[in-house]
């Protein structure tokens, strides 16, 4: 999908719902970014784009829409930061395990990390769209 198709799809699916409004504002803001500067967008980045000071259910729903729908423009990921401040990017499966079951094996020691959700920074990256997008 290109940028126009993404906006059209989001509009037709979510129309004037609270989720739809924030979804479109977020999508338009994200699609204006240079993809190179959208490789690690945190919740704080998203809040700045939609001009909110806290994460709301509508913002979460918008992030779900933008990562899972046919008009997905984001990919979700996580960075594990250990006690020594060493960071490592989690694989998709590792991130899903942290989210679903709060389980993570330390990439170096091979031991279970205690309460890994406390040590994983969630982020999003912009996926590459079709040529006419930018």
């Amino acid at each position: 999908m290109d940028k126009k198709e993404v906006i059209a799809r989001l509009t037709s699916t979510w129309a004037d719902t609270p989720t739809g409004k924030i979804c479109l504002r977020l999508a338009e803001g994200l699609l204006r970014l240079n993809p190179e500067e959208a490789q690690m967008l945190t919740y704080e980045s998203m809040l700045a784009i939609v001009d909110q000071d806290r994460v709301t259910p509508e913002l979460e729903a918008a992030l779900t829409a933008l990562t899972t729908s046919e008009a997905a423009i984001l990919k979700a990921g996580g960075i594990f930061i250990d006690e020594d401040d060493t960071s490592s990017e989690l694989s998709d499966e590792e991130f899903a395990d942290v989210v679903a079951r709060n389980v993570l094996v330390h990439p170096i020691t091979g031991e279970f990390v205690d309460n890994p959700r406390d040590h994983v920074l969630p982020f999003f990256s912009l996926v590459k769209l079709a040529e006419s997008a930018h």
Binding site: W14, A76, R117, V120
Partner: protein
Amino acid sequence: MSFSVYRISDLVVEDGTPLACQIRYRTATTHAERADALRDLVDYCCGELEQYRHLKQKDSEDALTVQIVSILKGQGVDAEHDPQHGGHCDILVKAAHGFIWIAEAKLHSSYTWLDDGFKQLTTRYSTGVPGQDQGEVLIYCKAANSKEKLDKWREELVSRNTEVVVFDDPRGNPLVFHSTHKHENSGLDYGVRHKIVSLYFDPKK
């Protein structure tokens, strides 16, 4: 530590909440994981209907389905009611990488009506190809004793569709069972969850 305020634990992702299901849906790495998270979201939606069942007594089959779709959309799920997809299916959910999940929603009346729904789902709307190999039959039950109705439907399903194999819900929910059979189109296994939504309301006081 050098990361921003929003760690996963800062998002208060309490297991079992719709947000937790939503984030599992978002981070699923396989179609099966996505379908599993979606079913949990559907459970949440049906729970909302059940909680307010006293207000749903006059709602039609379509009206109830529209409410489920609306709640799913509010969770960021790309869901539609009555779209054209090989015919007019009740709930269509689409996601990236070709994921499609379809539900047929029926108000409990006759078992022929429920069987029509099952056959529409499995022979008309679904393709049964990878990523499109999971579906749902949702039964809105305004009569008493929904468990009995579901158990009866389970017997009827098997007697009317001899190729179908049924089994209990792996999570132990007595108001749910599952079926599987070879999809006529793809020749691959097609899984259906059968869920009854208990909407009976007849207060004695």
